[in-house]
């Protein structure tokens, strides 16, 4: 039976090459966009790179400090100080470990006559245990080097190649804003979409020259919490809220209220997007909104394909009549048309997938998005396959159902 369907499918495609082109073009472009967006989503939120175990990680992006008084009200939002994390994150009992790290900062490195721009990140020793960086050369610095304020650095592959011309640069020195660091490790590049592990040069935070014990609320630091198991995250979030509620404000006339959350990446995103404070980060709502947007986006080419399919199927009314006369039920015909439609969307999906690979390659090479790395991995391929099939069903079901139910006698006469 499938051979019969495939023969007919191929012949129908050849009958109207322009319609076929329009169908394949619409499908492939739609799916290309959806695959690239899936790659962006996966690159941003998926278990990937140094965050392979992101189902055990929670992130603290500082907090919102406010002064709520009779005469004065103000709010400051953003990253926090080491003092804040000492009073909150570092006092958590449930996690396996925690790490405090700085926001990445642009620095200039000079190598003789070469000027290289890079993103430097200050970290503690636990940073390398919380994340799973792939070391191409050497090894990370630990807590002892941090305590001694050793001028050691882990650099990424790109920086190593730009600065030294090789990715095997362990033992060599790199000058970062007037300070000389000895390279102890070289890691794979991380995409800038991964705010927490992203950086080109990683150095102990004790080499920053800042007073890390200063009792202030704001600073340029973030924190990452690694749970013992994914199921522990909710309990850790509750424990964190308890500590935030008991935070000892260094100057209650400056700030006396704080909201801060230990969130997954997606929760951080949805909280910012939906401006949502409180326990509920509204992930469910976000997923519903995204699903609606995706379905809406797919519906336009789907409607176009529906129209083309109706025209094509009208031409085949006689064939429908013959098949029905010889025992094809409505359900069988429906299956045939859906099969044909899914086949064309899989072909379009394959073309779209190839276009997406090209688009991802161009984005990765593009100067418009520096440090941004997209990857099309197995999950994205599966998303693409699922989307193709969904697309095929969506655009095929209405015309297929209409035509399968056509009166047999009228179909034979047409």
């Amino acid at each position: 039976m499938l051979k019969n369907y495939i023969i007919i499918f191929w012949k129908v495609l050849q009958r109207h090459p322009f319609f076929t082109f329009v169908s394949l073009f619409g499908i492939s472009i739609t799916l290309m966009v959806l695959i690239v967006l899936s790659a962006v989503f996966d690159s941003t939120f998926g278990g990937y790179g140094p965050e392979k175990e992101n189902n055990r990680l929670l992130y603290v992006f500082g907090g919102t400090f406010s002064l709520q008084g009779e005469k004065n009200h103000w709010t400051m939002r953003g990253s926090s100080s080491p003092y804040f994390y000492d009073q909150t994150v570092r006092k958590l009992k449930l996690p396996e470990m925690v790490s405090v790290l700085s926001l990445p900062q642009t620095v200039i490195c000079y190598n003789e006559d070469r000027k290289i721009e890079a993103m430097r990140k200050y970290t503690d020793g636990n940073f390398w245990k919380v994340f799973d960086f792939e070391f191409l050369d050497g090894s990370p610095y630990g807590e002892s080097e941090v305590e001694r304020s050793d001028r050691v650095a882990v650099i990424d592959q790109k920086t190593s190649l730009d600065y030294f011309g090789t990715e095997h640069s362990v033992g060599q020195t790199i000058q970062v804003e007037g300070k000389v660091y000895r390279v102890c490790g070289v890691v794979e590049e991380t995409s800038i979409s991964r705010t927490f592990p992203f950086g080109n040069i990683f150095v102990p935070w004790t080499t920053s020259g800042q007073d890390l014990k200063a009792k202030v609320c704001h600073g340029t630091y973030l924190a990452v919490i690694k749970a013992r198991s994914p199921g522990d995250r909710q309990a850790i979030q509750a424990e964190y809220q308890g500590l935030v509620g008991r935070f000892p404000f260094p100057d209650p006339y400056q700030f006396n209220t704080i909201t801060s959350y230990a969130d997954t990446y997606l929760e951080i995103f949805t909280r910012n997007l939906l401006d949502q404070a409180g326990e509920n980060s509204r992930i469910g709502l976000f997923i519903v909104l995204i699903t609606i947007l995706v379905l809406l986006f797919m519906s336009f080419p789907a409607m176009n394909l529906v129209n083309i399919n109706i025209t094509r199927i009208l031409e085949r009314a006689s064939e429908i009549g013959i098949r029905r006369s010889y025992g094809a039920s409505i359900r069988t015909l429906l299956g045939q048309f859906l099969f044909e439609n899914i086949l064309i969307t899989l072909i379009g999906g394959t073309i779209g997938f190839c276009l997406a690979l090209l688009a991802v390659h161009l984005i990765n090479r593009s100067a418009i998005f520096p440090y941004y790395i997209l990857e099309v991995n197995v999950m994205v391929v599966l998303y693409a396959l699922a989307l193709s099939i969904l697309f095929g069903v969506l655009s095929g079901i209405i015309p297929a159902y209409r035509m399968a139910r056509m009166n047999i006698v009228n179909a034979l006469k047409s």
Partner: protein, 221 residues
């Protein structure tokens, strides 16, 4: 084996009601070759469509060997039609994108027959109609007579209980028409295939066992 009981068919549009068939009662026994004659618009094709379960009567019932398929759902009706009825149409109605072999194989695909069984039956059917050497040809590569032979092969490949032929020689010249009629007579006489044939040709009708005449939707003989 096929009985039509007080069949009536009315076609209703918004403004007009057309009585295509009125009070049709007839029986077709196993092995009979019956022709249906009448002027244009007398209801011949409508009768055949109802008999072949392609259309439902407005009143009355069609009984096949004591079974009334009136209450069957679509799945059961389609399967019933697949096993009981073979059709031959005036315009051949072959699927142009399929070869002669694939066209003849069609009823067996809906029966989910095994590939080896299908191959055997299709080859037998095409051999019976004298087209064993045209299996790989497309309808566009066949003459009118050959197309109708392929249609006949398709109608008999599933060993149906009855073949319904709607003006099978209508689009063929007299010589080829004669050949097709001889083929149908041969199937009836040698294979005991029950055939109901609509025709305008008195000469062809006289070769059948019985002639049913319709006029204005009613049976006159």
């Amino acid at each position: 084996m096929i009985e039509l009981i007080e069949i009536e068919k009315v076609f209703q549009t918004k403004t007009i009601e057309t009585v295509a068939l009125k009070d049709i009662r007839l029986k077709v026994e196993k092995g009979e070759f019956v022709s249906v004659m009448g002027p244009s618009g007398s209801g011949k094709s409508t009768l055949l469509n109802i008999m072949g379960l392609l259309d439902k009567p407005s009143k009355g019932d069609v009984i096949y060997d004591g079974t009334s398929p009136a209450a069957f759902g679509d799945e059961k009706l389609s399967s019933f039609r697949n096993h009981k009825v073979g059709f031959i149409f005036q315009s051949f109605h072959l699927i142009s994108d399929l070869t002669a072999y694939d066209n003849v194989e069609l009823p067996l695909l809906y029966r989910k027959a095994k590939a080896s069984e299908r191959r055997k039956r299709v080859e037998e059917a095409l051999t019976k109609v004298g087209l064993a050497n045209r299996m790989g040809h497309y309808p566009s590569q066949l003459s009118g007579g050959q197309k109708q032979r392929v249609a006949i092969a398709r109608s008999i490949v599933g060993n149906p209980e009855v073949i319904l032929a709607d003006e099978p020689t209508g689009n063929l010249d007299s010589g080829i028409g004669e050949e097709i009629m001889n083929l149908l007579v041969h199937l009836n006489q040698d294979e005991s295939t029950t055939i109901v044939m609509v025709t305008h040709d008195e000469g062809l009708a006289r070769k059948t066992h019985r002639i049913i005449r319709l006029f204005d939707g009613q049976q006159v003989s």
